[in-house]
């Protein structure tokens, strides 16, 4: 959270559930007004579908034919609540149907399925045909907050974790792409270790800066 990488096309990540979905539609509107070919993508979880703003945004994006993709990473849980404790039907891929936004359900741990659905949605957006909705089925290995699995704080979910750990999207992608995960993975691990070490060496900000950047000048 609170990460940004404008040079990568990431204007910001913030924690309010569904809060950035209308913002992505606004970026799409900006691209459309300027005649650019960019496509805005909103990433959110299954819990976001329980906020009203996502439904408002689906309608507006369809109405204004915005170049936008709604990507729902459905990991089956919102915090500790299984989808069946929050909804009566497992049908998130149909969330856009009422607003004439086409939906697709893909295996979110299968890179080729995610790629193909995204390719089609980008093509549709660039044709000026409007937004698409993609539900990517996956699972959250870690807990709702922090780096542990939440087993440590007494949230056991439904015992699916072991099964999903076997269904590793990175390992499966490596197989599909004929990558040598042992060799390439070791290099990636070293890069992460270097970044971690650099972060640990870093100093905390000095106190006394409250009030800075409250307003831009």
């Amino acid at each position: 959270m609170h990460l940004m990488a404008p040079e990568q096309g990431i204007p910001g990540t913030v924690p309010i559930v569904a809060g950035t979905i209308p913002l992505a539609a606004g970026a799409a509107l900006a691209y459309k007004l300027r005649g650019e070919t960019c496509v805005a993508v909103a990433f959110f979880g299954d819990g976001a579908l329980e906020e009203g703003s996502v439904h408002e945004t689906l309608n507006l994006a369809a109405l204004y034919k915005l170049p936008m993709i709604f990507v729902c990473e459905n990991n089956l849980y919102s915090s500790h609540l299984h989808w069946s404790e929050r909804r009566v039907a497992d049908n998130l891929d149909q969330a856009g149907a009422f607003h004439s936004v086409p939906g697709a359900r893909v295996d979110g741990n299968a890179i080729e399925e995610v790629y193909e659905a995204t390719r089609q949605a980008v093509a549709r957006a660039r044709l000026g045909a409007g937004p698409s909705f993609i539900e990517c089925r996956t699972f959250r290995w870690r807990g709702h907050v922090g780096a542990s699995s939440d087993e440590d704080v007494g949230v056991h979910r439904r015992g699916e974790l072991a099964e999903w750990l076997e269904y590793d999207p990175i390992r499966r992608a490596a197989e599909k792409l004929a990558m040598d995960l042992a060799a390439d993975g070791a290099e990636i691990d070293r890069e992460i270790e270097r970044a971690l070490a650099a972060a640990r060496r870093g100093s905390l900000p000095e106190a006394g800066r409250i009030g800075e950047h409250v307003c831009a000048s």
Binding site: H2, I16, P22, G26, T57, E212
Partner: protein, 331 residues
């Protein structure tokens, strides 16, 4: 100088900003309606095209959020809410997103957005279509709030808000729409955070906000006939507000009345009164007076409306109290 009324001044600011800057666009409810915005946006869709003047469904949350996102993507949106009451449905994009964005990202990014909302009271419209909620927004760091009371400020503050790199809530009051005054023809800005001394006086300071600034001038005329020389300050900006001008005047007159179109408890007037009491305590000759709405929702009956909305006489009586005169006594 040429005279315009308040609504014409708002209209001209929109036209000039849209003509001068391709990044400026309008989105919100009622933009294609001939009457929704009280004439303040009339025919802008015909002049600039409906791609740039987007009438929207009643989806305040997502429409306001879209304006935030477009601002982050390099545009200068104006999102329009024909009632300030409707903005309550958009608190997440206004406060969680727009107001916090610069701070969240250490100033690397900010939201250059104008949120325009209209106070449209009276006419028996009742509790959900009459609210002056400015104090709720004044509370929030990172969000600027302006409330112009004259045609010249209506134009100049809107143009300043459009150019500001931060989210600015611009609140206009339909009761001011027929006010007339000189308005420069060119593009100009009224600095956000600067109050205007409308009348120089020595006996008592009246700080007026929006519609109540106009009422304060009427009250000052009445007070003048009673031998009381009132200074009237039109606050214009609520966040940030001009503490220097208000405190200078408070120290000069020693008596301060704040006339606020909102509710009493935790209102804008309470904040100003507290600051004056803390910063100018030793120069005050009397407690700071507040003229506000009572702590009650707007009534739907015209009889009750007469009692609900304070008139200049309420400011005059507050001045008498501050000067130690018996209310109701002849001057």
């Amino acid at each position: 100088m040429r005279e315009l009324n308040y609504v014409q001044a708002i209209h001209e600011a929109h036209r000039q900003a849209m003509a001068a800057d391709r990044r400026v666009f309008l989105i919100g409810q009622g933009l294609w309606s001939p009457w929704y915005a009280g004439g303040s946006l009339e025919n802008l869709d015909r002049e600039f095209g409906r791609n740039r003047v987007l009438d929207s469904p009643v989806s305040e949350n997502a429409v306001t959020g879209m304006a935030v996102g477009a601002a982050l993507a390099g545009m200068r949106p104006i999102v329009f809410h024909p009632r300030l009451d409707f903005l309550l449905l958009a608190m997440d994009p206004v406060i969680n997103q727009a107001a916090n964005w610069s701070y969240l990202f250490a100033g690397q990014s900010s939201v250059p957005l104008v949120i325009r909302a209209v106070i449209n009271r009276g006419g028996e419209q009742g509790a959900q279509h009459s609210q002056a909620l400015h104090a709720m927004f004044m509370h929030v760091p990172g969000l600027k709030t302006v409330m112009p009371a004259t045609p010249a400020d209506a134009k100049g503050l809107l143009l300043a808000a459009i150019e500001d790199p931060n989210p600015v809530l611009y609140i206009d009051d339909r009761w001011l729409y027929s006010e007339t005054g000189p308005v420069p023809e060119e593009i100009y800005r009224i600095p956000i955070g600067e109050a205007a001394v409308r009348r120089v006086g020595r006996d008592v300071t009246i700080v007026g906000i929006s519609w109540m600034a106009a009422q304060a001038l009427e009250a000052a005329d009445v007070l003048a006939t009673q031998g009381i020389d009132a200074e009237v300050i039109d606050l214009r900006s609520l966040k940030p507000w001009d503490q220097v001008r208000v405190l200078d005047s408070a120290r000069k007159t020693g008596r301060v009345i704040v006339a606020d179109p909102g509710w009493r408890t935790a209102g804008a007037a309470a904040e100003i009164a507290a600051t004056v009491a803390a910063e100018a305590f030793h120069d005050l000759h009397a407690p700071v007076e507040r003229v506000t709405l009572p702590d009650a929702p707007a009534p739907s009956s015209r009889v009750e409306e007469q009692a609900y909305y304070p008139r200049p006489s309420a400011i005059v009586e507050a001045a008498w109290r501050a000067l130690g005169r018996r209310v109701g006594a002849a001057a």
